[in-house]
Symmetry: C2
Subunit: 555 residues, 2 copies
């Protein structure tokens, strides 16, 4: 990135963008605003921005007393509680880095992250102590563990095998309630999250204060969040900064609802919270919103959620789900896209007023499935294998490259990861998608799942969906297999309904595909199999398929 | 400002905040959005963001061909037209500085500004050529003058005494429609405005790209502006960046309406434009909104302006005016405060939901008169003479000090102006006001009009308003007069109704004041006079009063 120097300005450009200012200025204006949180015992806790701010200051002072210094990394293993919200501002506020630990990682991976980051302090929910018990012994540099105990419980009554443990509440009670926050250089790290790629070790993304400040403004701007909203933190706060909702809500002074501890098995409690607390904005994934919709369907009186915005990420939101919310409650599901490396907001799907007029209802729902347009502030490109922009025709796939103030420019201390960044500063997302003429992005594949044939790309996901739409097909998988002439050629595995076996041929499948795919894109081989190899979480395991068939086209 | 260095982050912190990205990203998403503009001949012109963007690129390329380089200052003497909107992005986009010239300054002051800034190029509306004819001969360094001619008019047909003149349209027509915008260092100047203080020479404020970018986000956030709004540029675009509305509207993709040329004598045309174009957000002053209200009062069918937000600055909005809009149309007048040195937004008056419940209707209207709360991102203090924070009780006056990313940190090349900045980076606004316990600021005086007595401040404006509320008083003025013991003591001049002369005594006035002022604050002398000295624009001329009475308490 070559920058040009213009004429000097007189503005206070040295004044740093600090996340601490978000809370400082918001408490000044929105002090009486409520924060409601489910506690770890399931009970509700309520206080105000002003109350919370005092506890953030106590936390910062208490951690200093414990030995935490500016620049130190403080690991956090916690659910979405008010204490975690306090940590979100108190820890980076004092100049330390909040290391958000994904409690779904293995103890070995967590220990790797703790070691790699040089983290010496840990804050952990009492309910998550079993994880700490597995991790801490692997990390000899840990100096102290602060436990967020169950409501009213003393540290002496907490069962733990760990040494040097402290009670979060006792630290706060003993600390000074006023903290002179340092003004941090805006390039200082505010927090760190580690990616959990399916290959290799977790890689560290260290978000600067500037990054998070600008991202919060971006979220606020693109959701239209305000002091009259009630924002519920559903996304785990250890997952890509909780998608930035808590900071953005704080920035605009929204009422905040924290969802506490929940799992896919306890979604009823979460659904009840959202309805009872009259939430107007939140973010989650179809895995959460589908059960929420079912919960609402079961209510005698449907809640009026007119104006409610539910940002949905992770996977494409089904039209039936979006329609269900709209028809039943008036709530809008808004598809959004990002990654740990992007803080995370990259695209959001809002319907432009002129498209509203041009498209019929079905087309509008189809459009809403797309990931949406790139938010202002980010450069987003869709490029082919030699990094040339593809046509914005909604058809030509390419890899998505992203650049901007809240995109990571590298991975922390990760030699060999430089290839994921271009010379002019774009992060190569590894996601493959199309851009239509209106600027809406649609993700279709991961780069590693795309079939590279003769310099062109074939979408394995599109082809799988098309095969599954054929009568009598139960499941399908398409992978690229190495080919001496074309680099790769598609191979399709197809599972047929029991009574259809022997009645459907490879040519039937190819003929069906030929309706939507070009001839050169059709799979060389179509194999009928009894089942598709799956990973432990039920996803198609393409690694296994590729290994099983790696020499099919070359031998 | 001492900054603390934390742990290094991995974010793309070197990616610069550039105003050019606002238009670049908005055109990507909002290309078909409309821009409607009154032209200089009164006719309407309509095109899209995408059309405008092409012309901005042509403008940048055309100016380069004319010899304009990165860092050069380009003076602009123009009304609120679509060409000026193009200049707003095209000129800074190519790396030059847009020098916004206040067409209401004298030719001598304008020449001073042009000379002081080192400006060598001028863009001027044909209707404003008479000003250019007076200014350019005083500025020998001017190399070229670009004229925005009346619609359809050729340069050859424009009457001018100037040399080296070029037609804006002809420059655009001859230029390449694609411009590779440079990525500017974010501390580079985007534009400059000169303050027009009543004393001394104009002083230059040079806004950086970073400043304007963050201010645009701030305006967008605090007004809730979106792609579904229609934003009308009423504030002259040469006045403190037009208060930032055009850039913020562009950022969020609002429909934009440009008001063209108007004066206080042609407000009917402006009012008609606002109603006809279904404007939903704008900014102006009571001097504009009062006639707009009268215009609406005169319409047979009152427009439904529910949800419309009209930001009002410059002077306190009268309750009758705010109520008038609300009752007649549903539009909300929103008081806001700022200055050339602050880009300009510092405070905005939105009613917090909890205050809505606490206050009765009259109290709510009274609150709406205040300047409002300091927007997130800015540090704002109200301090006494030794720069200690005053109580936030809504009563204790102090000077308002402001710090933040869109506040000027100095004046351009203005030796002697350093005293307006504190060591820790606050700009001393010269405005005096109070802060209430809810964080709402109310401006009461200018520092120079406050009476400094025995280390305390007495508000001359408050005292004048109180005297005028006394029956039979027509006008009043209060100034501080030098006093050997107390530094200053108040002197009141009072004009009585003709039939009351001789019937009201100085003690009557003092007794009246004693109901709301402390005894030590009461004026030493109360003089009954036939009239109060006024300036040419009808304001009380305190300089004259102070001069007339300078030795009253010391001789």
């Amino acid at each position: 990135m070559d920058l040009i120097k213009g004429f000097p300005a007189t503005s206070q450009d040295q004044y740093p963008l600090n996340v601490t200012n978000i809370i400082k200025h918001s408490v000044r204006n929105y002090g009486p605003q409520e924060i409601a949180s489910r506690r770890l015992d399931g009970s509700m806790f309520r206080y105000t921005y002003a109350d919370s701010y005092e506890r953030m200051q106590r936390l910062a002072n208490g951690l200093k007393k414990l030995g935490v210094n500016v620049g130190d990394r403080v690991g956090v293993l916690a659910w979405n509680t008010y204490e975690n919200y306090e940590i979100y501002f108190g820890v980076p506020g004092m100049g330390a880095v909040m290391l958000l630990l994904n409690l779904r990682l293995t103890p070995q991976d967590l220990a790797y992250v703790v070691e790699h980051s040089g983290c010496e302090y840990l804050i952990v929910d009492e309910t998550l102590l079993p994880i700490a018990h597995a991790v801490v012994p692997l990390c000899p540099q840990i100096k102290a563990v602060v436990v967020i105990t169950m409501p009213g419980k003393k540290m002496a009554d907490v069962k733990t095998t760990l040494e040097n443990t402290y009670s979060y509440e006792e630290i706060l009670a003993a600390a000074d309630p006023v903290c002179e926050w340092p003004l941090m250089e805006e390039t200082s790290a505010y927090a760190a999250c580690y990616t959990t790629g399916t290959t290799g070790k977790p890689k560290g993304v260290y978000y600067s204060h500037r990054d998070v400040y600008l991202h919060s403004l971006c979220i606020g701007m693109n959701t239209g969040m305000s002091v009259r909203d009630t924002c519920c933190q559903i996304v785990p706060m250890f997952h890509a900064l909780g998608w930035g909702l808590a900071q953005a809500a704080t920035l605009v002074g929204s009422r905040i609802v924290l969802s506490g501890m929940y799992t896919l098995d306890t979604l009823d409690t979460l659904s009840k919270l959202i309805v009872d607390e009259k939430v107007t904005i939140s973010a989650g994934a179809p895995a959460i919103f589908m059960p929420l919709l079912e919960y609402i369907r079961g209510l005698d009186e449907k809640p009026d959620l007119t104006g409610v915005r539910l940002l949905s990420g992770a996977t494409e939101p089904p039209v039936a789900m979006m329609k269900g919310f709209w028809d039943l409650t008036g709530a809008e599901i808004i598809h959004a896209y990002g990654a740990t490396e992007t803080t995370p907001l990259v695209t959001i799907n809002r319907l432009m007023p002129w498209l509203e007029k041009e498209l019929n209802e079905d087309q509008r729902w189809e459009l809403k499935k797309k990931q949406g347009f790139a938010v202002g502030g980010l450069d987003v490109k869709v490029v082919d294998a030699i990094h040339k922009d593809v046509a914005h025709d909604g058809k030509t796939p390419g890899e998505i490259l992203i650049r901007g103030p809240w995109i990571t420019g590298k991975y922390h201390n990760a030699p060999g990861s430089e290839a994921q960044f271009t010379a002019d500063g774009f992060w190569c997302s590894g996601d493959v998608g199309t851009m239509d003429q209106n600027g809406y992005l649609k993700i279709t594949d991961r780069v590693k799942d795309v079939i590279k044939s003769g310099g062109e790309w074939i979408s394995s996901v599109d082809m799988e969906n098309e095969i599954i739409s054929f009568p009598d097909v139960l499941d399908a998988a398409v992978v690229g297999v190495a080919h001496p002439k074309w680099q790769e050629r598609p191979l399709a595995l197809v599972v047929l309904r029991a009574d259809a076996k022997g009645k459907v041929s490879a040519d039937d499948i190819r003929d069906h595909l030929a309706k939507t795919f070009a001839k050169w894109q059709l799979p060389e081989d179509v194999l009928f199999v009894d089942e598709i190899p799956k990973t432990s979480v039920g996803k198609t395991d393409k690694k296994v398929i590729r290994a099983d068939h790696h020499d099919r086209y070359s031998s």
